[in-house]
Amino acid sequence: MSGRRLVLAAVLLALAQIAFLTWIIAGRAAILRNGQEVLLKVEPVDPRDLLRGDYVWLGYEIRNVPVKLVANAPAGEFMPEAGPIFVRLGRDADGYWRPRSASLRVAEGQPPAGEIDLRGTVSSAWRLGPEDSFAVSYGIERFYVPEGEGRAIEADMRERPFAILAAVAGDGSAQIKALMDGETRLYKEPLY
């Protein structure tokens, strides 16, 4: 490779990688800016594993989606297939959003006013019957905190209700906006 071409290749490469990273940031910021706000109740998960390193592990109330709510779930006992699930959420009287219905693989049409489709992933861990629930992750199960600040939150979470204020984009992908300790916003998330 000649000298100028190598430098040119390096410049283009650097710009391409930086552009790619900027594109991801812009996409995430767009969800924060434009997405529908939902308030999700957080429950403490297995306390021994609540905090790994520098993030708090968030166990959402809506991580269990009853099979009964899923219109296109197989009948009888079945082994769930790992894949996308669209959980339609509505706002309850206490302010928290909870599942109204759900659909595997594809969303069922447009949600009615006041409801929203949240995209999650079903994990295929064990066999399910009609009375069981799907285990669903939404890609927002972690809240990163500055080094050393996680323990206090972990302790508080077991004493009083915490919540996550999330923004949901039109395609159902979610983005954490704030961690709520009751009514107080613990960390405010800037767009960038």
Binding site: I24, L32, Y144, P146, E147, I176
Partner: protein, 372 residues
């Protein structure tokens, strides 16, 4: 190795003095060795790569610490600056005869790219896609390797691909299928390694494919089938390398080490079968053991003279094989003392055999027909 060229220089001076070769030939040989030496790793470039790996680790750990004193946009900007300065600065260094340092700086830039992905994940609290992040990092590094024609970056991309494979399999609450895409990834990186002239990457890819097969056997709980397939494919590679050495080398370009990989893959495949069938009453274990021993002997006979590495793999495989056969077949009858006694005798015999073989292979081969 830097010492090789100085050794050749000393040797050629001696050969000129003793009239074996003339001065022109000696100079040509020394020049050729020095030219090719530049491509191999010297002590300095190893240190440069190690320094780059340390800096890379520093970047990644710094991101992980989530230090709030520096606002996160500044952190992002800093990483972007490292990416740009690293790639471009590395290219400039490379053009100014600082090849090793240039490669090392490129590695730092690739690490900054990975660090930026991690930082974005942290900024937006993305969970559950570390594997996706590693895969993106791997792709970015592979693109960098191809764009800059860099061997070390190719190695880094292969390493990240292996890390991705491992992380995908190690995920505890796995919500995804077995990462079959690794085969495609390995194929792409293999092609990149031709362009970047990185034989080391091809070695690592072949080893990682063996690792992939082992994970496959565990995942589908089908050790016998997968092990047999692995052994058959790598035995075929070995046969290819022995029957058509030049053609095979022209394609794989592994510095003549394809037979070594053939033997490694074959032995791992057979051992996978043996671990599964060890407790069974059927003849599968014995058949696999015979196949392994026959394969080892065949490998040494067919390719052992040319490759010291192959001989050592054969010895190690032979020792493992003896231990496995012993543990499975005889241990029940004899006590622990018997095991140690037998192991000692076996190791002694093994040492004796290895010394004999190494000695014989060191003697110059007699011209064809001269032995008669």
């Amino acid at each position: 190795m830097a010492s090789y060229s100085s050794r050749v220089r000393a040797d050629s001076a001696r050969w000129v003095a003793s009239g074996l070769i003339d001065r022109n030939t000696a100079e040509a040989i020394v020049r050729d060795v020095e030219e090719h030496d530049r491509r191999s790793l010297s002590f300095g470039s190893i240190l440069a790569i190690m320094a780059a790996l340390l800096l890379a680790a520093a970047i990644l750990v710094f991101v992980a610490s989530n230090w709030e004193t520096i606002p996160r946009l500044a952190r992002v900007g800093g990483l972007f600056a490292i990416i740009f300065a690293g790639y471009v600065g590395g290219a400039v260094l490379k053009l100014n005869e600082h090849g090793a340092i240039g490669e090392a700086v490129w590695l730092v830039a690739a690490a900054a790219f990975g660090g930026a992905i991690a930082l974005i994940g942290q900024m937006y609290h993305l969970s559950g896609d570390e594997t996706q992040a590693v895969l993106t990092w791997c792709a970015g590094t592979a693109v960098a390797a191809a764009a800059l024609r860099s061997g070390p970056l190719t190695m880094a991309a292969v390493g990240l691909a292996v890390a991705w494979l491992f992380l995908r399999e190690a995920e505890f609450w796995r919500s995804s299928d077995f990462p079959h895409a690794f085969i495609g990834l390995a194929a792409v990186l293999w092609l990149v390694s031709y362009w970047t002239e990185s034989a080391a990457s091809r070695h690592l890819i072949l080893l990682s494919l063996v690792f992939y097969a082992v994970l496959l056997a565990i995942e589908y709980d089908e050790p016998v089938g997968v092990g047999a397939g692995l052994a058959a494919i790598f035995a075929a590679l070995f046969a290819l390398a022995v029957v058509l050495p030049e053609q095979a080398e022209r394609i794989v370009r592994l510095n003549g080490l394809l037979p070594v990989h053939g033997l490694i893959g074959f032995l791992v495949g057979v051992i996978v079968i043996q671990l599964e069938t060890a407790g069974d009453s059927g003849p599968a274990f014995a058949i696999a053991a015979v196949a392994a021993l026959a394969g080892i002997v065949a490998a040494v006979v067919l390719a052992g003279r040319a490759s010291r590495g192959l001989r050592w793999i054969a010895y190690i495989g032979f020792a493992i094989e003896l231990c496995m056969i012993y543990v499975v077949m005889i241990q029940d009858m004899l006590g622990t003392a018997g095991f140690f006694l037998a192991a000692g005798v076996i190791l002694g015999l093994l040492a004796f055999a290895i010394i004999r073989i190494e000695k014989r292979l060191k003697e110059p081969r007699l011209p064809e027909g001269a032995a008669a």
